[in-house]
Amino acid sequence: MSEPAVGKAEGTLSFTDIEATICHIAHIIEEDKLYFVQMAGAPLFALLLAKRLRAPGVGYVVEEGAVAPNPIFPLPRMMLGASRSHYRAVAWTSMNMVDAHAALGFMDYGLLAALQIDQFGNFNSTFIGGTYDHPERRFGGPGGANEIASQCWRTLIMTKQQKRKFVHKLDFMSSPGYLDGTPGARERVGLPSGTGPYRVITEDAMFGFDDETRQMRLIGLAPWATLEGVLAEMEFEPLIADKLERMKAPSEEELNIIRAEIDPGGFSTSRGKWMTVDAATGLRAG
């Protein structure tokens, strides 16, 4: 069940970690770029939030072949490939077709979610614990993430700010970041040159990558987050930007749109960790 956007206490906002991440991503969506968004769920919600609020003309494709749709809000709960999410696209095509659009370099940004990520932006969506043949917990697989992360110019990856997510060594590398970080590592395995992860976004922070060493670098903090808090939730230590950007907090308007129009019923977004912040300062009020 979703909580009201305006929290229990006067002047506070309550939201889940997933909702916070969705808002952070929505803030960096650029209207003059093309996006390839993986399946339904939080990555698509982030793009739709930006499209709904401030970038109505932004173009995106989804794996099952809809090109630049204008979805009808509110979306149905099972929106994957449904008529309301493909509404008023400029073209209805197929998976091979949109993957080819990405192969040709038309997709500026890939937008997707990861279970686990390492310091070079490689990520896992296959299994956690155990071995490939005897996994402790098997997940759904890379889906479209491998082709998106390989072929779009820049990849935006969302995950949670948890130690088990930012790991020294992935249980399984489902999709490529900068691989071992050496120059030309992606090109040596056949991936298009000049591509790679661009931002990693969590509820608390935003990361980029060093142009030379390809290591992950902390570049922004949510208003309620601290450097120490973020580092405590990472197995590896990232580079840290000279000047950390102070990210914006989710707004009441954004949260209302997520809950009433994009993910009515909170099917995906309400299943996270809740936090409450001061609406004016974004500082934790819990």
Binding site: E63, M95, P142, G144, N146, E187, G190
Partner: protein, 323 residues
């Protein structure tokens, strides 16, 4: 054009000439009536051990009535292409039908996890796009296609892809083996008795799959006149000579939606989800599959006209599909 690295995943060996010989000897070239029941279609065209591909998933325009018929007939040892799927793989695994899955994406809950742990289910890694692309390769009649992803990952290692040097540029490129499934299942909006099929809306790879599969079963919401097909040739997704059987199946993607016609039944999924968590999928299958002789009986006795009417009402968009 050296092979630099090869994944170690098992894959259905591509055999373009073997596929051609099958086509020469078994595919009907004439315009004949191919309408049969789901029972006949699955009995005749799905064999134990077959590699089965299908388009879309149990959420949207999946061949769900055919999944249930496969479970009802207790088909065994199937190898599934799970690209862009959902709980459909779990359903077929719960039904005891599946021994191997080529994974793009699938819902991976208790049923899958248990089957993997107990060694009943072997998974092989690809991605949604790689599986669709393997079908594209199959549809072109070639043994493989080059592509620009998979390389460098553990996914590559657990797949049947290869890393090679391109003889034209000297640069590196991955190859994936073409996929020639034994069976393709495609649920469509409209089809004539000859198998000329129309899919409305975006899709995954219905045409590629129908082209490169030895046996093709179409289930269709509606059977239309051949003359209607010929009046709008551009709307045909799959021409007749690829198709072996046409099954008339209104609400054939139940509990999923068919865009432009009806929305999904969310309650049904919650019931399957609960059955998974409670380890009661046998009871679920007994109720929805084994105790029912057919899709039609299930719709009548388990779903009911009231729910079907609600599903129809919940689809408010016809534009682009039927208009």
């Amino acid at each position: 054009m050296t092979v630099i690295a090869s994944g170690k995943g098992e894959f259905l060996p591509p055999d373009p000439d073997g596929f051609r010989a099958y086509v020469r000897d078994h595919k009907e070239r004439r315009l004949v009536n191919k309408v049969i029941t789901a029972q006949e279609a699955v009995s005749r065209y799905v064999s134990d051990g077959d590699y089965v591909a299908y388009d879309q998933n149990i959420a949207v325009r999946g061949p769900a009535s055919l999944f249930r018929e496969i479970i009802r007939q207790r088909k065994r040892d199937l190898w599934l292409a799970a690209k862009f799927t959902w709980t459909d793989v779990s359903l077929l695994v719960a039904g005891g039908c599946v021994s191997r899955v080529d994974v793009g994406w699938m819902e991976s809950g208790p049923v899958i996890n248990r089957a993997v742990k107990e060694g009943r289910l072997k998974l092989i890694e690809w991605s949604n796009g790689a599986l669709a692309y393997r079908l594209l390769a199959g549809s072109l009649g070639v043994p493989y296609l080059p592509m620009r992803y998979l390389g460098g990952t553990d996914t590559f290692e657990q797949s049947g892809a290869k890393l090679t040097e391109d003889p034209y540029t000297g640069r590196r490129v991955c190859l994936v083996p073409a996929l020639y499934p034994d069976v393709a299942l495609v649920h469509v909006h409209q089809c004539d008795v000859h198998g000329n099929a129309r899919v409305f809306g975006a899709g995954v790879s219905p045409l590629e799959m129908a082209m490169c599969s030895k046996k093709v079963i179409i289930s269709t919401e509606e059977i239309i006149e051949p003359e209607e097909i010929r009046r709008q040739p551009q709307r045909t997704t799959i021409p007749y000579y690829f198709v072996d059987a046409v099954v008339h199946a209104p609400f054939g993607s139940y509990p999923g939606s068919t865009p432009g016609l009806y929305g999904a039944d969310l309650e049904h999924w919650l019931e399957f989800a609960a059955a998974q968590v409670q380890n009661k999928t046998d009871e679920y299958l007994e109720k929805w599959v084994h105790s029912m002789a057919s899709h039609e009986e299930m719709l009548e006795k388990r779903v009911g006209e009231q729910k079907l009417a609600m599903m129809r009402q919940s689809e408010t968009v016809r534009e682009g599909y039927y208009e």
